[in-house]
């Protein structure tokens, strides 16, 4: 059995920042990444990120992954990243079971653990939603931007949150037609600057609309959409047909944190954070000392917050192992200040409410 000081599960923005932060304090870190490439969702984000300089704002997500991996290299003697490794179990004695390359199964025992496992895409129920050609928006973004595969010719985007409008824009950059973006909500959920980018390309954004059914024999051929009233009930007679070969479902994310639930940390359903989340202190520590959480696994937010949380969790996890840098309190306060800033505006109302409910 492999024994490590600090185990970080996930190498997305939260996991990489946590690794760098903990290593900077002197901790020895092992990072598990389930895919063949570190960086999590960053590696397919070709747009510039929001936030401030501290979270690399105005850089493209894919380049932020590069910046963070360069920092990881600086601490090469203290950070190891294991690729193609999925954490599948998390037990009482802090043993994590790992499946590598879907064939080799082994155990890792860690003194402290940071769960930075991210999120998964929610689905939407409608007739024929299993036809080939109907994807999660994130899956289409992976196909296009990681593998260079064209998902189809004409797309209907379901969901006008940030992911929906950003992926729509990237589809157009790839030369694929976006027929429309629709959302059941009465207002666009995305940052409006993103929505305006699409609007001025001539893509209609249809709020208070939903998918009634998908049509196709062997694969998607068309989608029937309709308007909904203020109670999200379909309005009869408002049906419209879109002939599309791709439909992207982008109706939100849920925190991916079953490992923490398995370990027995205190969990709570918090709607504002989009699902079950671990209760945690302001230092990202769960109800079990030495077990931390950071990024979307603790509640759905932007990558900027995930990075600030990662730095904070890494700092505090290292400190729990006895690696307390001289400027610990100063750095801790700086990360908390960054998080407060990112969550302080009107778009942060929901997050702040969720944080209050999930605080230990």
């Amino acid at each position: 059995m492999k024994e490590v000081e600090l185990l970080i599960i996930g190498s997305g923005p939260a996991g990489l920042c946590a690794a760098v932060s903990a290593a900077e304090s002197g901790a020895k870190v092992l990072v598990l990444e389930r895919t063949f490439k570190p960086g999590g969702q960053l590696i397919k984000q070709t747009h510039m990120f929001f936030g401030s300089e501290s979270q690399y704002a105005s850089h493209r997500g894919v380049d932020i992954a590069g910046i963070l991996l360069d920092k990881v290299k600086e601490y090469g003697d203290r950070i190891e990243i294991m690729l193609n490794c999925t954490a599948v179990g998390f037990y009482e004695d802090n043993v994590v079971t790992v499946l590598r390359d879907e064939k080799e199964y082994f155990k890792i025992k860690a003194k402290s653990i940071i769960c930075a496992t991210g999120a998964y895409e929610k689905s939407l129920a409608f007739p024929n939603n299993d036809l080939p050609g109907i994807y999660g928006a994130g899956a289409v973004q992976t196909l296009m931007n990681v593998y260079g595969i064209r998902p189809g010719n004409r797309v209907l985007m379901v969901g006008a949150g940030n992911i929906g409008v950003i992926v729509s824009y990237q589809l157009m950059q790839a030369g694929i037609e976006v027929a429309a973006v629709l959302d059941a909500a009465p207002r666009i959920g995305a940052y409006l600057v993103h929505a305006s980018k699409l609007a001025r390309m001539g893509v209609p954004i249809l709020t208070s609309h939903t998918v009634k059914e998908a049509i196709g024999t062997d694969c998607l051929e068309a989608a029937i959409v309709c308007e909904v009233d203020d109670k999200f009930r379909p309005i009869p007679g408002t049906e419209k047909r879109y002939d599309v070969d791709v439909m992207c479902i982008s109706v939100g994310l849920s925190p991916l944190n079953e490992l923490l639930a398995m370990r027995g940390v205190e969990m709570k359903y918090v709607g504002q954070l989009s699902g079950y989340v671990p209760m945690r202190t302001e230092n990202c520590e769960t109800s079990i000392p030495g077990i931390f959480v950071a990024g979307d696994a603790s509640g759905i937010e932007e990558a900027s917050s995930a990075m600030a949380e990662g730095y904070l969790a890494g700092l505090c996890a290292a400190a729990s192992l006895g690696h307390v840098p001289e400027d610990f309190e100063q750095r801790r306060r700086e990360y908390l200040k960054q998080l407060d800033g990112l969550r302080s505006g009107p778009v942060g109302d929901r997050i702040r409410a969720g944080m209050a409910i999930s605080k230990l």
């Binding site: 936030g51 157009m172 666009i188 940052y191 699409l198 609007a199 001025r200 390309m201 302080s344 505006g345």
Partner: protein
């Protein structure tokens, strides 16, 4: 309406434009950021301190039209591509726009393109004056276009005709 369509109303747009006298004096930034979101690269990028957000990163940027010389550094830095430069000093009949454009193939100087408004509707033809795509712009090319003056408050995008 804006929150339903992503298309800003004329009234909203007008609040972001400086007076026409300022536009006629030379290039100046128009920052079409209408929503409080946690973002401040425009303030960080401006070499003359003409864009202020302040201590709260969620504040809406305020551009000082006297300090702003229309250098355009902010255009490629804004993650929302919400900034453009307008310049009414070149002629009485036309205005020059500098707008971000992240689509390939890029247009070429001298090319005629179709001007689009904020809803993507064709409104005019426009002439490409310059295409800037230096490394510092980090793959957000900035296109200078000459547009008839009557479209000053409507022109926002273009599409190629070839």
């Amino acid at each position: 309406m804006f929150e339903k369509t992503g298309v800003a109303t004329r009234e909203m747009v007008m609040t972001k434009f400086p007076p026409i006298e300022r536009i006629n004096r030379g290039p100046v930034a128009v920052v079409e950021c209408y929503q409080k979101i946690p973002c401040n690269p425009c303030q960080t990028a401006c070499p003359v301190g003409a864009i202020a957000i302040g201590d709260d990163i969620n504040n809406i940027p305020v551009r000082d039209e006297e300090k702003c010389g229309g250098c355009g550094v902010c255009v490629a830095k804004c993650p929302g591509l919400s900034i453009m430069i307008v310049d009414g000093s070149k002629s009485d009949e036309t205005v020059e726009f500098r707008i971000p454009y992240e689509f390939l193939p890029l247009p070429e100087a001298g090319e005629m393109v179709t001007g689009l408004d904020r809803a993507g509707k064709p409104i005019c033809r426009a002439k490409v004056i310059r295409v800037m795509n230096p490394a510092a712009f980090d793959r957000t090319p900035v296109i200078t276009l000459e547009v008839a003056r009557e479209y000053l408050y409507d022109f926002r995008n273009f599409k190629r005709e070839v």
